[in-house]
Symmetry: C2
Subunit: 281 residues, 2 copies
Amino acid sequence: MAKSFMDRLRAPESPVNLTKLSTDAHPGVSSKDDALKALPELGERLANLQEKLFAQARGGSEPARNSVLLVLQGMDTSGKGGTVKHVTGVMDPGGVHITSFKAPTEEELSHDFLWRVRKALPGAGQIGVFDRSHYEDVLIVRVRDLVPREQWEPRYGLINEFEQELADQGTTIVKCFLHISRDEQKERLLARLDDPTKLWKYNKGDVDERKLWPAYQEAYEAAINLTSTVTAPWYVIPADRKWYRNFAITNLLIETLERIDPKWPPADYDIDVEKARVLSS
Amino acid sequence: MAKSFMDRLRAPESPVNLTKLSTDAHPGVSSKDDALKALPELGERLANLQEKLFAQARGGSEPARNSVLLVLQGMDTSGKGGTVKHVTGVMDPGGVHITSFKAPTEEELSHDFLWRVRKALPGAGQIGVFDRSHYEDVLIVRVRDLVPREQWEPRYGLINEFEQELADQGTTIVKCFLHISRDEQKERLLARLDDPTKLWKYNKGDVDERKLWPAYQEAYEAAINLTSTVTAPWYVIPADRKWYRNFAITNLLIETLERIDPKWPPADYDIDVEKARVLSS
């Protein structure tokens, strides 16, 4: 049996060294052509599983509580937005809850760092997607010294507790680090500056962050090492090739949902009685 | 030049009589085949316009404030959810804000009826989609006497003022009544009861509402007559054919966005300076 994408892409148990992990490999599929050929059928499977997850939380006498949370992290231009568009494009938007986390507002800063994250969690039956997440609080916050070490250091443990709590309540967490190379980021930033339809996506600040590349990679390594748990493992997605990134994350979601194995809920009413009522109405 | 879908589908200025308006016509396209053939290109146009609307609210030195609000109303099974799935499926989910209004909570009931609606409005650059809306407060509320007439009757005027306020702030409102026949609803309810993957979509209460069909049609007519304004006209969509419903609303959105005519925003930075910064980073 073919190795699962979960197995192929799970962050290693030994401390991760990102420079040693390929950004342009394509484990699990031999070519772009093969991936693109497989995508329509994968999209249908994903859509079907998502609808079942949604349905089982709504129908029957004992609605299920399961939900999924996809967390996307990565450097600027690594493709978080593109991934959201691709993987949620096939799903019913009614069952998907997307949150794009920006720099925290004054109000958000006045609360615990998980406050805004809790408000954005998927409800039963939903697939939540985080474009950036609570991990920013141990990434940019750490790299840029936005709070002192005594504040960010305990967050790794707090995040693990938080994610365990979510898992206990029925949320399966899929954390993906979109791993691009520094050269690929340069290409993508230049492409934005060369295309009149993409100028608005460019921010001067992107270069300032880029200059801190090694510090960010170190912060990502720490996050992956300290928060990749059995409950909520990190997946490192080679993301220089957009087609592979989409293909891999679609497969990860399918495998995740197949493990949850949602079922169409039975009727919590008498079908024949209801048919008669409809017919006579 | 072909008549626009806006012109074809806009509710008549004279008082509307829904029984006289076809539920299975397909104005503007001669066959299902033709509609399905046109949809991929229409989808691309819609996606492109939506991205531009989003972009112009974010880039440049004077970001635009325009947004769009698509309001979907119709009897149970009329296809509100299917429409949301279809028309938003082609768009970037980051620029779309979907709200599905359920029976109001205690907290919502303790506020003015527009309170929860205001919280769900699209921000600048966004396309908001309401699956049900503030119109429920003059539909089920009126039919079921949920509040006394003295309370619901002034709401038509309040809604017109509210929608004018939104328009003044840059929101273009597209209100669609998904018009299905009573027979078509019967078919769709029976289909749910015949399909194990759809049992969860059926509610016993649907038949209770169905029995009030004439009262609902009357309430819809009143809503359309009293709130179809130049600012925010109602469109009556023949919705017995799902392909036509999707085709028509896709076209309405395209025409709406073409009138807004969003533009890719110019850079609010010096492109050459930034290229040099990226190259040297």
